[in-house]
């Protein structure tokens, strides 16, 4: 690992900030999330083997997925509802009409589902790469992706086929892997 940490932050943190914003949907939270991830990366910088950007993005995504804002005494609370138990709900209340903005619809996604959507369709990662970034199995990625797309009123089969991954033999019409992650 020869990349200087400070040089990396100056050169690449803007790109990571965009990812953080797509995850958080809030500029201040995105900056906070990015700095939190960079701080964690700093302590491991000398041990990073390979692409530091992928490493930091992995920290960023997993920090987001397992993160809630810590509230200082007296500071404004950011009203943040927890994820609902019923993650795979596809009832009318969760469904998004085609006329609604997808951006607003994404705000209703649980964090892991939102993260999978951002990695898969903004970062253009394969299912396997998304799983590596999320630190989970490809089956979990597919499951989370299907649930997310269903809530966004996008045919889940469209998002499961992974032409970039020749190892992916998923039958887009076979949704038997959509086990409840809870």
């Amino acid at each position: 690992m020869s990349v200087d940490f400070d040089d990396f932050v100056v050169a690449r943190s803007s790109a990571l900030l965009r990812t953080a914003y797509l995850l958080t949907h809030d500029h201040a939270s995105a900056e906070d999330l990015l700095q939190t991830a960079l701080t964690k990366a700093w302590f491991a910088w000398g041990r990073i083997d390979g692409n530091p950007e992928a490493y930091v993005r992995r920290i960023l995504v997993n920090t987001y997925a397992t993160w809630w804002r810590r509230k200082w005494n007296g500071e404004l609370a950011t009203e943040e509802l927890p994820e609902r138990h019923d993650e795979c709900a596809s009832d009318a209340g969760d469904a998004v009409s085609a006329a609604q903005d997808l951006w607003q619809a994404m705000e209703r996604l649980p964090r892991r589902q939102r993260a999978v959507v951002v990695l898969r369709f903004f970062e253009d990662l394969s299912v396997a790469e998304t799983a590596e970034q999320m630190g989970c199995s490809t089956g979990t990625v597919k499951s989370q992706l299907s649930k997310a797309l269903a809530k966004l009123r996008i045919d889940p089969a469209l998002g499961l086929a992974d032409p970039a991954d020749p190892a992916d033999t998923t039958d887009p019409t076979d949704l038997s892997h959509l086990e409840d992650q809870r």
């Binding site: 965009r18 701080t39 700093w42 997925a65 397992t66 509802l81 966004l152």
Partner: protein, 424 residues
């Protein structure tokens, strides 16, 4: 039905909206966070308090804390000093003091307990300057009637400067604990900034799971969960019952439970009075659906506080009627905002009473700064739909708090300042 191209286009469009104002400044911010993490780790490792006092410019070190008992009625510079202070329900006893000719300082090493430092002068100074963390604040009180709080885990030098002889007095936390639920010296206070504790529980060391049964008393609750002593990579989870039930997950990466956990680390949900808000907190191995952690050192605690919104709003945020800051309780007294479309609000302090200024902003992608004229401290928020933060204490008419949008004011942008007075 939407399609993937619409989704990709939406993501691209919103990503393009992100304007990174200051990647170079981010380097400094991250290094500052790194220093903070190191400091907390050192404090956790240190375990017990260490304290050194030194007179600025002098060579003599005052006795260590256990060199002798403090006098029953302490005096500094011939002035009577309170034998103890009460701060948010905690009691701090006079520990030791230092005097100097126009200036004195005390170096406080990182401790696992907070400490208070008070100051006084024998002269007729209208104000004295008190410096900590390198930031100087001017105070009108100069008779050991006020204090600054040095939080647990922080190391700093507190310095006082006046026009004549000055003194500092250090107060150490006693074993008395506020009303609430206490375990092994850690307390969930019965009342935090006016919010009442509904239920709290601590697991025994090695117990990675705590369950609480609780019912909401108003239109909201907040949950505070803390976890420590787990192996790296462990996660703490909070499963919530009730209509807004669900779960949240966080990292369990602290070495010790924080002091005063009810004041930090929480997530809130709206409720109806009487609604079941039972909660289960547990620690797992790893982050992805890991099994319940088995570790002799892990400790976990969870609490439920009433957290009804005040209904008073500024710039899109609910404004708390009571807040805690610097070891004091403060009550909302007024709010200031510019005329619609204005991007700047500024308020001055008042003679004879301290004010705490908190800024509120809702300015879309614009950059907003929160400034304190006395300390010179500036908080810069690069974008942020709804946010806010403490500007600082205004102690006298010389202090001014300002919130302003840099550059063009976006349509619908709001900035405001809420002022609080001491309520303790």
């Amino acid at each position: 039905m939407n399609d993937l191209e619409q989704l990709r286009a939406t993501l691209e469009r919103h990503a393009d909206d992100v304007v990174d104002h200051d990647p170079l400044g981010r380097v400094g911010s991250v290094h500052s966070r790194v220093r903070g993490v190191r400091r907390r780790r050192r404090a956790a490792a240190a375990g017990t308090a260490a304290l050194t006092l030194a007179v600025v410019g002098g060579v003599a070190l005052l006795p260590e804390r256990d060199a002798g008992p403090a006098p029953a009625t302490p005096t500094v510079l011939g002035m009577t000093v309170p034998s103890s202070f009460d701060s948010l329900g905690y009691t701090y006893d006079f520990d030791r003091s230092v005097e100097g000719d126009t200036r004195a300082s005390v170096r406080l090493a990182a401790s696992d307990e907070p400490q208070l430092v008070s100051w006084g002068t024998v002269g007729d100074d209208d104000t004295v300057e008190v410096t900590r963390y390198g930031t100087t604040t001017t105070y009108t009180a100069a008779d050991f009637s006020d204090f600054v709080l040095v939080p647990a885990g922080d190391a700093t030098t507190v310095r006082v400067v006046g026009s004549s002889e000055v003194g500092l007095a250090v107060f150490a936390l006693t074993s008395d604990r506020p009303e609430g639920v206490t375990s092994d010296g850690i307390t969930y206070r019965q009342e935090v900034a006016g919010q009442q504790l509904i239920a709290a529980g601590f697991g025994e060391p090695g117990e990675a799971e705590v369950e609480l049964e609780a019912a909401a008393v108003s239109r909201g609750v907040r949950f505070s969960v803390e976890c420590a002593g787990a192996p790296a990579g462990s996660s703490v989870h909070l499963d919530l019952a009730g209509e807004e039930g669900g779960f949240i997950t966080g990292q369990c990466d602290e070495e010790v439970l924080p002091f005063d956990p009810g004041a930090t680390g929480s997530v809130g949900i709206p409720t109806r009075p009487g609604e079941d808000v039972s909660v289960r907190a547990w620690v797992s191995e790893g982050t992805e659906d890991g099994p319940l952690l088995e570790d002799d050192d892990v400790v976990i605690s969870v609490a439920v506080y009433d957290d009804a919104p005040s209904g008073t709003r500024l710039a899109g945020s609910d404004v708390s009627l009571l807040v805690e800051s610097g070891g004091h309780l403060w009550r909302l007294t007024s709010m200031d905002m510019p005329a619609p479309g204005g991007g700047r609000v500024s308020v001055a302090g008042q003679r004879g009473r301290q004010l705490l200024a908190i800024g509120f902003t809702a300015a879309g992608d614009a950059t907003v700064v929160l400034e304190h004229s006395g300390t010179g401290e500036t908080v810069r928020a690069d974008g942020g739909d709804v946010s806010g933060g403490e500007i600082g204490v205004l102690d006298g008419v010389q202090d001014r708090a300002t919130v302003r949008v840099l550059g063009p004011v976006p349509p619908g942008a709001e900035v405001a300042i809420a002022l609080y007075v001491r309520a303790d």
